[in-house]
Every structure is written in C-alpha cells, then in structure tokens.
Symmetry: C2
Subunit: 262 residues, 2 copies
C-alpha cells in the first residue's frame, strides 16, 4: 500500500531532501538516502532497514516487481510526481526510485585474523566509494574509517561503492592513531602505506592476516601520529612518476597485493 | 603582452567555450581547453603548443610567475573579467587560468618491445583519465584508444589524467580488433582482459614486453572480434564479488601486474 504525494512541501519529502544534502542531518537522524534500481535492490537483498520508499508512476510501470518487493519491506511507501521526485534525487537522470534507510548499529568488532583497509581522512567521495567497492571485491573483512573522512552515506560514496556499504563491516573511529595503537597491542599488524622509496616494497611483504592497511588523505597522506602508531611502513615501488597514483588506485593495488597470494 | 576582454560575446571566448563542451568541435579544430594552475603549468613543462591564454586579474596577482611564463609561450593572451572567465571554465570554483592548446600530431608509432594499455570503448571520462594517469605512473610506453571511446581531450579526462595526456604517447584507432591483429602479425602480444574464471590468471603470466593489454567497455567488456584478434586471455582472480571492480581499478591492477616484477 502506498500514499500519493504531489507537493514538494510535504514534510516527508523535505526530510529526504535534507538527508541527501547534509551529512550533519544524516548523522543526527541515523538515516540516509539511496537512489536507483540497483542500489535499492541491493539494499533489499542486503536486508538494510528501509524506512521510506519513494517512486514515480513511470518507475512503477517499468519496475513493478522491484517496487512491490520494496513496498513490502518499507515502513512507508509514497508514489510521487516527477517534480516531487526531483527533490529527493541527487542524479541528473533519475530512475524514479529511492529509499530512506536506517544506518546499521555502529560496530567496533574487529576480527583478530581479518584483513582491513583503514582510511584516515579520505576526502573525495568517489575515492571512498571505489575503495569500499574494491575491498568487498577482494573479500576484505571490513574498513576502518577516521571521523574526518568523507561521510560513508554521502550519495556519491553510496553510488561509487556499488552497495558495498550495505555488506562490508565498517568501523568508525574518532581517534585513528589510537585505534591503530590498540590493534597493535591486541596482536594485530597496522601497516602505514607511504609514498617513500625507502619503505619496504609491498611486493616483499608476506602474511596478510590480522592486518590493517592504512591509507591517508589524498593530498597530505597519513598523519605522523598514525605512521608512528603503525611502526611498519610499506610503499608501492614505482618506475614512472611516483606522485601520480590516485588514492583509490594506490589503495586497490595494496589490497590486491594483500590478496593475490605470493 | 595581453589584451583585455570584458565581453562574453567576444569570438575568442565563444570559441573556447565551444571547445570545452563539444568533442566534435575539438576534433574538427584539433584544439582543446585546459584549466587550472596545475594543468596549465604541466602543459608548459610538457611543451604542449599553447594557442590562447585566458586569466583573471585575481589569478594574475596570485600566480604572477606562472602567468608570465604562460604569456611567453602562448600565441595570444587575454585578461578577462570573472564573468567572462566563467564562460571558458568547466569547474565550480575556477582558479582563473585556462589555455586553449593544439593537439599533437596523431601517432601510429608503436614500440615493438613496449608495454601498452589498449582501451576499447571506455565511456566514462573519469575512468579514462585515471587509466592514463596510472599508465604514466607505471612508465607504460603508451595507450591505444578505440574511436568509440570517450574523447581524450574531454575536460574531465584531462583533469583525471593529471596531465598524462601531454606526455603519454596515445595512438587512436578506428578499427580496434584489426589494430590488434596487425600488432600480432608484427610479433607483439595483444592480451584480452576478461572477467572469465577460466582465463589464465594475470599472476601467472610472465614476459611483459611487446604487450598490449586490452580493456573493454565498463558494461559490455571487450568485443568478440577483439577477444578473437587477441587470442590470449587473462583475468584477475577474485576471492569476493567478481563483478565488483571498477574499470579503472581492473586496468590499474593489470598494469601493476605487468610492472611489479615476478
């Protein structure tokens, strides 16, 4: 069952609009917006809690099955006009389906023998999305993300992650170097990825269990405190222009080296 | 020496605006637009032919040295108002410097012993830019790009490539599978990268000289003709969700494997 909404000033529409644009709003309400058939379908399969479903009549005709399933899962469903849909959409060519979801309970659980990608102050949403997508592709056990990184529930991150955000365990920490320190005390191995030709080459490192691979900000890299907390440093040896790897590419090559078997 | 332009309707401004938005215009005039201190400085160092320089008074104060050097290199220089600059800019927060450059002469030269990334119908400009950037970082000898791929001189590709477009030899071909066939006849080794678990793992391939690594479209992959032309097929063995690697990430991992030494 659904209700029709024809006004952009409807408070439910206005709240979804606010969630799209404001990380602060997402954090305080613990809700976020996903858009498009693929992501909404992914949320369903991944059993994310769907609070509100919005769809247009056109989408209802085109994706009847998906919308029916989403209606069953959603706590409330609204059919909206294309003009109203634009308010709750972040894309140029909206598909006419979006959902407001509830964030999962935050976790701090870390597997002693796991493989983690740990991100300190990653600021670009496409980089963050791509890194989470790759971590899932390589079967990582999760991601650790510093408080000053870009918001995981930013619409661009959600799209770039291809739904990895629903499935990959994500641990948030406001004190990244202290978190690494603590992991080390618990017998895990936090490793700092640095663009330093004197660091150990990633190709000669072995035993990638119980490891947290730490990647820093796109421009500044890891903080000194984090590098100190880690102790161990690795680098990607380069033949060409060393400064010239995008953060998501470096992170992916490091994750690949942790996965490829040597 | 520079001339002041205060009108958006100035024909030089209008042409630059057209070059920004139209791949057709770029192809027919063999010119393109680059923007920002970094790319313009890169063009200068890389000895790209700079036809027109545009800058604002604010940029002139902030980056006096760079603008002076660009003025010497440019065939014509114009100081423009912020409103006019917006017309020749593709970014949200323009830095007030941009140049119209001439495309280099097309090349078909290929090094028999070289390492190439070969891209068939790559459609996303950020993917294309990132792949070119990574190819340069790993000291590849060049890129082969199919005619139906995204335009290399698209502003997003130029930005994503971090100037690699100025330095990396780029070969354009309208018949991608025939080009690969020809390279094979000349003793080189075109390899098709495919998402097929039965293909040879990239980790067990050796001798990466005289190789063209072929990457296909983000959604459809390589065409059948190209896969046939190549003969050899490789894949990235995956532990997790196989479909879940972005095209620029797959390409980068393949280039890394061709570079890392085994």
């Amino acid at each position: 069952m659904f209700t029709d909404i024809t006004s952009k000033d409807n408070p439910t529409v206005k709240q979804a609009h606010k969630l799209l644009g404001s990380s602060h709003e997402r954090k305080s309400t613990k809700m976020y917006v996903i858009e498009g058939q693929r992501l909404c379908g992914d949320a369903l399969i991944s059993k994310a809690r769907i609070i509100t479903l919005f769809f247009t009549e056109e989408a209802q005709q085109r994706s009847a099955d998906l919308i029916e399933c989403l209606e069953c899962a959603a706590e409330a469903s609204y059919r909206v006009t294309p003009e109203v849909f634009e308010k709750v959409s972040d894309t140029k060519h909206p598909q006419g389906i979006c959902c407001v979801c509830a964030m999962p309970e935050p976790t701090t659980d870390i597997k002693q023998e796991g493989r983690y990608i740990a991100l300190e102050n990653i600021s670009d949403p496409s980089n963050l999305g791509t890194i989470l997508r790759t971590a899932e592709a390589f079967n990582f056990d999760g991601a650790v993300i510093s408080g000053d990184s870009c918001d995981v529930y930013n619409p661009k991150v959600l799209r770039g992650s291809m739904g990895a955000v629903f499935r990959l365990p994500i641990i948030h920490t406001d004190n990244f170097p202290a978190f690494m320190q603590e992991c080390k005390l618990r017998g895990m191995r936090p490793i700092a990825a640095v663009p330093d030709r004197n660091a150990v080459s990633i190709t000669s490192v072995r035993f990638f269990r119980g490891v947290l691979m730490c990647i820093g900000n796109e421009a500044q890299g890891l903080t000194e405190e984090t590098v100190k907390s880690c102790g161990e440093k690795v680098t990607i040896p380069m033949l060409g222009r060393a400064e010239s790897l995008n953060a998501s590419i470096s992170a992916s090559i490091l994750m690949w080296e942790m996965s490829r078997g040597k």
